[in-house]
């Protein structure tokens, strides 16, 4: 649906440069700056967003020329992909862009790092997302629950997926939600946890969808969570370990991240809530004997997170951070199994949901 628009904006970019050249000007690109100094938390929308600082990149500048040509080449590739209706992974795109300059041993791109950056710059310059440019991110994540979708002509019922679940694609833009009987979504950071909940058929008992990625959620997972949230008003509950890294996963899902600040609107879910583990849960469910001592790096991360603008004014979050700091330890979700093999499914989640015991 947005395909035409994407192709148009890519062509517009080409025309601008060609015009400059024919006028004898130094062709230039205006690239929004992706450094920390140009990223701000927008408290009104509850999202991390890009500022308006822009750098001008010239072709006739020793320091710029390489990146300039790489960015234009990335645009040419994206136009081709859109035309064909095909997608490439970042690695494949790297190989498509890699070629040797005539009469030299210089490659247009030498490292994937370079083509990645060119693609990210292109997203900013043309105000499109990588998905629209037909470049795939990583594929990772399983889902099960009371939803039926249509994708590529197939009808897929997420409640009839056996023990494995549906495997989420890296690009979820074309998925159509046919029937949504779920009342909310539980997102968890670990596939092992997902298998626990799926084996215990939690999504059936609690009328919900369970989705996992591995560690930090991939773009595809974040997009599908956001789409279900926005298009079908499903609340998103995040289930992570009680440690700074779990909190960070929650933070990124909810407010967006610095590296993807330019597409926060397409990824962030400001209404997402934490369903655990909080430090209160650790105490309430008697998990204190499974504390894992903080390392220096944990203390540092906790310190960073507790200073995030979006957590700074939340009394409740600051309370969590303080307790964690005093406890000097973290606790994993898996520790709940010491209370009983299906304790998380039979007791923990139903209780938390019934009491609306969420951290916002």
């Amino acid at each position: 649906m947005k395909k035409k628009e994407t192709e148009e904006s890519l062509k517009k970019l080409g025309k601008k440069l060609a015009t400059e050249i024919s006028k004898g000007e130094n062709p230039s690109l205006e690239v929004p700056i992706r450094t920390l100094s140009n990223i701000k938390y927008d408290p009104h929308h509850k999202m991390i967003k890009m500022g308006s600082n822009v750098a001008t990149r010239y072709f006739f500048n020793v320091g710029h020329v390489r990146k300039f040509v790489q960015t234009v080449e990335a645009a040419a590739l994206a136009k081709e992909l859109n035309g064909m209706g095909k997608h490439l992974s970042l690695r494949e795109a790297f190989y498509r862009m890699k070629r040797t300059l005539p009469d030299s041993n210089i490659n247009l791109v030498d490292e994937q790092e370079e083509s990645n950056e060119a693609i990210e710059d292109l997203e900013l310059i043309t105000d499109t997302s990588r998905e629209q440019l037909h470049i795939n991110a990583n594929k990772m994540g399983s889902v099960a629950g009371k939803i039926v979708i249509e994708d590529g002509g197939d009808i897929i019922d997420w409640s009839k997926m056996g023990s494995g679940g549906y495997s989420l694609p890296s690009n979820v833009e074309d998925i159509i939600f046919k029937k949504v009987n779920a009342k909310f979504i539980i997102y968890m950071e670990k596939a092992a946890e997902w298998e626990r909940l799926n084996e215990d058929r939690v999504w059936e008992k609690l009328d919900c969808v369970i989705i996992s990625s591995q560690g930090q959620a991939t773009r595809g997972v974040r997009r599908i969570l956001q789409r279900l949230h926005l298009e079908h008003r499903l609340p998103v509950y995040v289930l992570v370990d009680n440690d700074p890294w779990g909190f960070y996963i929650y933070s990124v899902l909810k407010f967006g991240s610095i590296s993807l600040a330019h597409i926060s609107e397409k990824l962030a879910i400001p209404d997402a809530k934490l369903i655990g583990l909080t430090v209160d849960d650790v105490i309430k469910y008697d998990l204190k004997k499974h504390l894992i001592k903080f390392e220096d790096v944990d203390f540092k991360r906790l310190e960073q997170i507790s200073n995030y603008e979006w957590f700074k004014n939340s009394k409740e979050w600051q309370r969590q951070f303080k307790m964690m700091k005093e406890m000097k330890s973290k606790v994993e979700l898996a520790a709940l199994s010491s209370k009983g093999i299906t304790f998380i499914s039979d007791t923990y989640l139903p209780e938390k949901i019934k009491k609306k015991d969420f951290l916002d």
Binding site: L10, K11, L13, G14, K15, L17, A18, I21, S22, G24, E25, N26, E30, V31, I33, S52, N53, V54, A55, T56, R57, F59, F60, N61, V62, G63, H64, V65, R66, F68, V69, V72, E73, A75, A76, K79, E80, R99, L101, P102, D103, S104, I106, L108
Partner: protein, 531 residues
């Protein structure tokens, strides 16, 4: 004897004086003879130092011949010949055959040798390891005296084995000394050759011919002027310890305190002398010999309290920037050399002066660390570089400012030679081997200032050189990327590739000038704009 108890009387019989020669024979490492390799360098160094000092005092451009020949395994014959003023016949045996005998110990004036231990130490080591006398020939321009000499170790006195007097038809003057010694010969960083090479750098007015085990090398004279002769000065009140003051008071010819202070010290005029006496509450007419110990202490303290200008600095003889540059350029074949001579300064009452020079390019090694050449009173220092004030100063200088890479705590990298000369009436060596200068803050500071000044000058040269190179590179770079850009842009905009290339080639010619102005942006950072 043995186990019966020994009484004070028994012990008294055993007490004996030890001669200086005996002492140094047993403690030869104190003179630099701790191993056969270093022994050979020490012998050459001591004889060279004497020759250069003598020529300089007599204002003769030095011509010095050094010869080292292996005559048996680990046994060498060493010859050093100079064209100096020579030594008069009567003093010849003492000057070479008695330790602690010389002209330089008692005066405050910059020179290479100081203690009267150099040549006699070499002869002592020679006779200890070979049992043979040394041959010395000397002429002051008249007849030639040739003696064979040994040292009577028990008495520390010369023993003349033979004495010949010869006609001197060629009017030769100078000293020729020839001795045999146990030693080991090596090449490399700490070798006789390197010692002579660096001596040539720091004495560019000298001609040195070296005939070594591996062939003959000539270090040509580069300049024909010598630095001015340093003058002898009197002690400065700030550098005098109480024990020395006591001795000066006892031996002075002055009849009263004011006379003593003004005539026996530098920088003390009548006004200052009166002030010192007043501070010490001592009558200005007091006889210097009559002071009690308490009065001496008061006098000493007062001398430290008055304000005085620093000691005179004409006791120093720096090389001068010109000589430094010539010497270094010749030895390194560098494409660029810059030298800096700092004004004199003072540490602990001792005047000193720092010079440095930087050499860039030429025959210096292209890879790895820069080369540091260290000198004290024109004598190269080959050992203990890591303990030396010169190394501290180089390491503490921020060479990145001058375009050289440098890891923290290391010498800079690159095709760079660094020459540092420390000149003083009293060089504060860190140890007996006279191989490293102690890191007094005043000294390191002067060295750093010299290096910084020279570094700035070198940086200007290096930058100019790089700029020319850059211009050409820039043009070639854009020409490589133009076809790529055109190709991508054709796909994107639909415009013809050939047309785009033509337009871009046109711009490149036009913008050649403009892009030069942009130079400072060329570091790859993009200018920020607030939109």
């Amino acid at each position: 004897m043995a186990d019966k108890n020994i009484t004070a009387e028994d012990l008294a019989h055993q007490l004996r004086a030890v001669s200086v020669a005996e002492f140094f024979e047993k403690n030869r490492h104190l003179l630099g003879y701790e191993n056969p390799t270093k022994a050979l360098i020490t012998i050459v160094k001591e004889l060279m130092d004497n020759s250069l000092d003598a020529c300089e005092e007599a204002r003769i451009l030095p011509d010095i011949k050094v010869s080292i020949k292996e005559i048996a395994p680990e046994r060498f014959k060493v010859k050093v010949e100079d064209n100096g003023p020579g030594i008069v016949e009567e003093k010849l045996p003492l000057a070479f055959g008695k330790l602690l005998y010389g002209s330089k110990f008692h005066r405050l004036k910059m020179s290479r040798g100081t203690q009267g231990l150099g040549a006699s130490g070499a002869i002592l080591y020679s006779q200890l390891t070979t049992g043979k006398p040394s041959k010395i020939a000397s002429s002051t321009g008249k007849e030639i005296h040739e003696i064979e000499l040994m040292i009577d170790v028990n008495k520390n006195d010369p023993k003349i084995v033979s004495h010949k007097e010869e006609k001197n038809s060629g009017k030769w003057h100078g000293i020729k000394i020839e001795l045999e010694t146990e030693a080991r010969y090596i090449e490399g960083k700490q070798s006789v050759f390197e010692y002579l090479r660096q001596t040539a750098m720091s004495n560019p007015y000298a001609k040195i011919i070296y005939d070594g085990p591996n062939g003959k090398v000539e270090f040509e004279r580069v300049v024909k002027e010598m630095p001015p002769l340093p003058r002898e000065i009197k002690p400065h009140p700030y550098g005098v310890e109480i024990g020395l003051l006591r001795r000066m008071l006892a031996s002075t010819n002055a009849r009263n305190l004011v006379g003593f202070l003004t005539s026996d010290f530098s920088r003390v005029g009548r006004g200052t002398a009166l002030q010192i006496c007043k501070l010490a509450k001592l009558d200005t007419d007091r006889k210097p010999h009559d002071l009690s110990h308490d009065e001496m202490e008061k006098l000493h303290k007062s001398m430290q309290m008055v304000k005085l200008i620093g000691p005179p600095t004409d006791c120093l003889s720096p090389l001068s920037e010109k000589l430094l540059e010539e010497g270094l350029r010749k030895e390194t074949k560098a494409e660029f050399v810059v030298a800096v001579t700092r004004p004199p300064s003072v540490y602990r009452g001792n005047p000193f002066q720092v010079e440095c020079a930087l050499a860039f390019g030429g025959e210096l090694p292209k890879e790895g660390s820069s080369q540091l050449f260290r000198f004290a009173n024109k004598v190269p220092l080959l050992y203990h570089a890591s303990d030396c004030a010169t190394t501290d100063a180089v390491v503490d200088t921020d060479w990145k400012r001058y375009g050289f890479s440098q890891s923290s705590g290391q010498l800079p990298q690159g095709q760079l030679g660094i020459f540092i000369h420390f000149a003083s009436v009293w060089v504060p060596y860190t140890s007996e081997g006279k191989q490293a200068i102690a890191s007094y803050p005043e000294i390191v500071k002067e060295m750093k200032l010299a290096l910084q000044e020279a570094g700035r000058k070198l940086a200007v040269y290096v930058r100019q050189k790089n700029r020319m190179h850059d211009r050409q590179m820039r043009k070639e770079l854009f020409e490589k990327y133009i076809p790529e850009l055109a190709e991508s842009l054709e796909k994107l905009s639909g415009d013809k590739k050939e047309k785009l290339i033509e337009a871009l080639e046109k711009i490149i010619k036009k913008s050649a000038i403009k892009s030069e102005e942009n130079e400072k942006e060329g570091d790859g950072r993009e200018p920020e704009k607030t939109g």
